[in-house]
């Protein structure tokens, strides 16, 4: 960008590089003069507003301005202006048809760029009626892009579609069938179904194919609608046209996944098709990169995997053809590997066969050993499928798996975690979960964080070696992803702490609790803790904070006050905190110790007493009331460590019988049950509503029920009786159904109010009050954060990575770095093997770090070899950027390079006699970026743009080419095409010197 002039000069003669170094300046001058002339003519031509492509100046201007927009804001402005224009234009009653097509495309642009174009939808619908095929199909396209299949306007199209399906122009029928696939919904299926079925027999294969897909769509929408037509799919499998047969595999795949057994009769035909495809019996035109119809092969393999699953006999037919495909496999191309991968999936799904598994394992190990991340990814996936059949296969690839686990590439890492998740056993759970948690901490993507957190919890719950470890693990999960995990997990944790091992060893339990208290007091120092975790902490501190006597009541209360104060907006946490304070207080009072109410505690009580939340208010008043009670009463209300005791409620209130009897004898009215009074509302009903209310805290819109005898059931109740004094006091810890029971139970409450806290069912209602889910914050570069973490996880290994990253281009340096690395390998692999041993090792002790790794000794040689190979490949592959960009290496540099005016390019072309190297549109690469381009060509030619191994030889070619400025030979059409393109470009007014030269970059160049 900085040396604009120079670049133009250089790019001006793109295909005749020798011209640059032309020693004769006169030739150049002559050329320039001639080109000037041509340029003027060209410009004049371009002034004509309409081109041969039927596009108006307005459209070209739109494309130009969108193409050159530098920011989203600028693009938005352009689109908003365009919306205005289109509104005006479309309001005109007689828009010419040709124009209309263009307006539609402009509307498509508007929606594609994220703006609403609903004002134009009706015009799209109208366009589908047009007679011209191009206009009609554009209309259908716009409708499918704009409208969902349940949109009101669709009904207007059904008629058109019906008409078009009857057309004798097969292109019209095809266009209508494409629209059918997108627009026909469950209700409109019957309107077109008979016609579609008829079209299955259409003479044109293109129509038959689309009719099959339309039926497929109907099946997806509503399986019942085509249930009677399923046999058609089987028939179409034998269609003489391979395209139709290939398309039929799509609906068959869906049908077979839904019901495998009805299609077992197809196995033989499908196998024979696969065999024929693999033997290149299909027309050459189906080949893709020398591979016979690979997409059909893959689809067939997918179907066979379904059909052979758990079916020994069916699988028996498949082994031969699978073996053939494995044998013929092409490891050097992506598509070859894609087929291989599908074969592995198939083998791992069908009834196992040793030979096939062996071949699959061999292919998997090739994937894992490749330097391509894509292949490694596929390899990890394949491995996770194969270990289901034979877990030993993983053994061989331990180091490759660990490499992937430590790879800075997030995608690969995740895939590897998926593998680890599948191979977790009680022997390696600690290592795997630790790794998962470390990774979980490092990422920001809340979607994946949730997933991995729940996996950690699942594995920990399933395989935890000790409760201690379980609690520690859960603490970590809560600390870092507390807002994302299910609330149930928190309840499980509380229950575990409360119930302990459940064994007779009481001391172990209390030890566990003490350690939990210790860890929580420590964790409370952390600045930001998730709400769910704080709830757990408060609860545990309340129950067990003072249990072992190491912490004073005031210390724990102080801590709890801090928690409540620090989370002013979180009512649930405050509720847990105040209840816990209440427990501590009551334990103190019950034990007869003098309890000092800290000023901050008193202020908390005062504050909560005035809270907007009735729940908090109630808790505060309860605490206040409890503080005034004597120790005996408190002991009865809040027994110590009773959270696990079952809580029984005397619903019949039998203890009041004598009192009631007395009252009746004195002449009081007998009690009439509630439902007999109201006739409608029964207790259960009431309770349900109550629960709901408690959990949502929302307004209730239904009318109040009749007064409930909730506090003082007998109407004759006399307030002077001591009982009434206690009803005031009876703590109502939760605003739940329990409250009612508690009141009924009155003073003789059989168990503590706290018994409830352990009762998950009751708690749950409360927890619904404020469940906060973390804000989804997607990091723009998740890989960056994970890479740092992985680097820190494995310092020695990090050395290899950084080395590779800075690897120089030359092969000599590769040699030297290779040597130096060899020395480090010993340590690196020792570290890795320790990890490997703990992950894969069969040793019963999971902590393999402590003891000499057995696996490390088992295969040190292999490890060194793999490592060595990895080392070499890192250096060699660094200069050549991997696959997706093989086609486009020069981009980073040349995107900044302003490209030449197309006129000049045109001149370059015309001025030359050798028109063999055309491709005007493609900007010629500057010498600096040429070598990579060449590289691309070289890799493309033999491997078909392969993601797989780039052997070192290529790097050599690369370096040779770099020194000799060979111009990349251009593929593509002739110079006439290029001229045409150039003309279009000029019409648009977009020039490669404009704001976005990238618009001209040849995608395949």
């Amino acid at each position: 960008m900085n040396n604009f002039g120079l670049d133009i000069a250089r790019l001006g003669f793109p295909y005749h590089h020798s011209a640059l170094s032309d020693p004769c300046p006169r030739v150049c001058e002559a050329k320039v003069a001639k080109l000037e002339q041509l340029k003027t003519i060209g410009r004049e031509l371009a002034m004509g507003s309409q081109g041969g492509w039927g596009q108006t100046k307005e459209f070209l201007d739109l494309v130009k301005s969108i193409g050159e927009a530098r920011s989203k804001a600028e693009e938005d402005r352009i689109v908003l202006r365009e919306i205005d224009t289109l509104r005006r234009r479309l309001a005109d009653p007689d828009v010419p048809r040709r124009r209309m097509k263009e307006y539609l495309i402009r509307l498509v642009y508007v929606e594609m760029l994220g703006h609403d174009a609903s004002f134009g939808h009706i015009h799209a619908v109208k366009m589908t009626h047009d007679e011209s095929l191009a206009v009609k199909r554009t209309g259908y396209l716009a409708v499918t892009l704009f409208l969902s299949d349940d949109h009101d306007l669709i009904i207007l199209i059904v008629n058109t579609i019906q008409k078009d399906l009857r057309s004798d122009n097969y292109l019209v029928v095809s266009a209508a069938l494409v629209a059918v696939c997108k627009l026909i919904n469950e209700e409109t299926i019957p309107a077109v179904l008979p016609q579609v079925v008829e079209l299955l027999g259409h003479p044109k294969e293109a129509v038959r194919k689309k009719a099959v897909m339309a039926l497929h769509r109907f099946y997806q929408r509503s399986p019942a609608s085509v249930a009677h037509l399923v046999s058609n799919f089987k028939k179409k499998l034998c269609d003489p046209d391979p395209g139709v047969m290939g398309a039929t595999l799509c609906p068959l795949f869906d049908l077979i996944s839904a019901d495998t057994n009805s299609y077992k009769d197809l196995i033989v035909s499908l196998i024979s098709i696969l065999k024929q495809v693999a033997e290149r019996r299909l027309p050459k035109t189906y080949d893709y990169h020398q591979m016979p119809a690979p997409f059909i092969q893959i689809k067939l393999l997918k179907i066979l995997a379904l059909l052979g699953s758990g079916d020994k006999e069916a699988s028996g037919h498949m082994y031969t053809v699978l073996g053939d495909i494995f044998r013929k496999a092409e490891h050097s191309t992506n598509i070859g590997n894609a087929i291989l991968y599908e074969c592995i999936c198939c083998v791992s799904s069908i009834y196992p066969n040793p030979k096939s598994i062996e071949a699959a394992a061999a292919a998997t190990s090739k994937f894992l050993k490749s330097e391509s991340h894509n292949l490694k990814y596929m390899g990890i996936d394949a491995l996770s499928r194969l270990i289901k059949i034979n877990p030993d296969i993983a053994e061989e690839h331990q180091l490759a798996v660990i490499d992937c686990l430590e790879d800075p590439d997030d995608t690969l890492k995740r895939k590897t975690f998926e593998l680890l998740y599948k191979m977790t056993k009680s022997t390696n759970v600690e290592v795997i979960v630790d790794r998962m948690i470390d990774y979980m901490i490092s990422i920001n993507d809340s979607h994946y964080k949730t997933e991995i957190a729940s996996r950690c919890v699942e594995l920990a719950e399933q395989y935890a070696p000790s409760n201690q470890w379980f609690i520690q693990t859960m603490n970590k999960v809560f600390e870092h992803a507390g807002d994302l995990v299910n609330i149930r997990v928190a309840h499980n944790l509380m229950r575990l702490i409360a119930e302990g091992f459940g064994g007779e060893d009481e001391s172990a339990d209390s030890q566990l609790r003490s350690s939990a208290v210790d860890s929580y007091l420590r964790i409370l120092g952390e600045p930001k803790l998730p709400s769910v975790f704080l709830q757990v902490i408060c609860w545990v501190l309340g129950e067990y904070g003072t249990a072992d006597g190491r912490y004073s009541a005031s210390y724990i209360i102080g801590k709890l006050c801090d928690v409540a104060e620090a989370h002013l907006s979180d009512d649930t946490v405050k509720a847990y905190a105040i209840s816990s304070i209440m427990k501590i207080c009551s334990f103190e009072i019950a034990a007869g110790r003098k309890l000092e109410i800290l000023p901050e505690c008193q202020s908390l009580i005062d504050e909560l007493s005035a809270s907007h939340s009735t729940d908090l208010q109630q808790r505060a008043y309860e605490l206040q009331a409890l503080l005034g009670l004597n120790s005996g009463a408190v002991e009865a209300v809040m027994p110590s460590d009773a959270s696990c005791e079952d809580f029984e409620v005397d619903r019949s209130l039998s203890f009041l019988n004598s009192f009631v009897q007395q009252s009746i004898e004195k002449g009081a009215q007998p009690y009439i049950p509630e439902n007999e009074r109201s006739g409608i509302v029964d207790i259960g009903n009431f309770k349900g509503q109550y629960q709901q209310e408690a959990s949502t805290h929302s307004l209730r819109f239904e009318a109040y029920e009749l007064p409930k005898p909730s506090v003082i059931p007998p109407p004759t109740f006399e307030p002077s009786i001591p009982l009434s004094a206690t009803t005031d006091l009876v703590p109502v810890p939760e605003p739940t159904a329990y409250t009612k029971d508690a009141h009924r139970a009155s003073t003789k409450m059989p168990s503590s109010t706290d018994a409830l806290s352990a009762d998950v069912g009751v708690r749950l209602r409360l927890d619904g009050v404020q469940k906060k889910w973390g804000k989804p914050t997607y990091s723009s570069s998740p890989s960056a954060s994970s890479s740092t973490s992985s680097a820190s996880q494995n310092a020695t290994n990090g050395l290899t990575h950084t080395d590779g990253g800075g690897g120089s281009v030359s092969l000599q340096t590769r040699e030297t770095s290779h040597d130096s690395r060899r020395q480090q390998q010993a340590e690196v692999s020792a570290e890795k093997q320790r990890l490997a041993a703990s992950l894969f090792g069969a040793s019963s002790v999971a902590k393999a770090e402590k003891k000499p790794p057995t696996a490390a000794q088992k295969a040190p040689k292999a490890a060194a070899a793999t490592k060595e190979k990895a080392a070499t490949t890192t250096t060699t592959t660094v200069p050549s950027t991997p696959p997706p960009d093989l086609l486009d290496l020069g981009d980073p540099t040349s995107s900044d390079t302003p490209l030449d005016d197309p006129f000049k390019q045109l001149e370059g072309l015309l001025g030359s006699t050798a028109a063999a190297s055309p491709g005007i549109i493609n900007p010629p690469a500057a010498p600096a970026s040429k070598a990579p381009d060449l590289m691309a060509i070289f890799t493309e030619a033999p491997t078909g743009v392969s993601h797989s191994s780039i052997d070192p030889g290529l790097s050599e070619i690369y370096s040779i080419n770099k020194s000799s400025h060979i111009v990349a030979t251009k593929k593509g059409p002739n110079s006439q095409d290029a001229l045409q393109k150039d003309a279009t470009a000029r019409q648009v007014g977009v020039t490669p010197t404009g704001n976005n030269p990238n618009l001209f970059r040849d995608l395949l160049g």
């Binding site: 693009e75 292109l171 690979p294």
Partner: protein
């Protein structure tokens, strides 16, 4: 279902073509999704793998010059095959347009869509034979 969407985006994150095969999404949902996935893909380096997980999708992407081809697929799709499908799409576009560039797709958006329509229906790859894909489009060109 297989393919959920095919989106072409340039390096600046501007959408050049978008086709969805899953349930209908509103314009703003699409806009948000496209912005998110483009950000994810742009942040990746060349030697990372060409697959990215995003919510329930897996995105297989490939870059050609300034354009990213992003294909969202279900979780049990063969990623490598999708990667090659992208290449096949580009080859087909290239055969039709001749040295296809971003501008070709912008100027002939409907054609690019038609080509894609021939190749993918209901989220399935239905045609991979370039001549069969392009035949109807060329016939249509001739007719008009």
């Amino acid at each position: 279902m297989g393919i959920r969407f095919v989106v072409l985006v340039n390096k600046q994150g501007q959408t050049r073509l978008a086709q969805y095969y899953c349930d209908h999404m509103t314009v703003s949902e699409r806009r948000a999704l496209e912005a998110e996935i483009v950000r994810k893909c742009l942040a990746r380096t060349d030697h990372q793998c060409s697959f990215v997980e995003h919510r329930n999708y897996k995105i297989v992407y490939r870059r050609y010059a300034s354009l990213f081809f992003l294909v969202g697929v279900d979780n049990d799709e063969n990623e490598l095959a999708i990667l090659e499908f992208i290449h096949l799409l580009v080859e087909t576009l290239d055969r039709h347009f001749g040295n296809v560039c971003e501008l070709d797709i912008m100027l002939h958006l409907e054609k690019a869509h038609f080509i894609l329509e021939e190749m993918v229906m209901n989220g399935c790859i239905v045609e991979t034979n370039k001549s069969s894909i392009l035949a109807p489009i060329q016939l249509m060109d001739k007719a008009s």
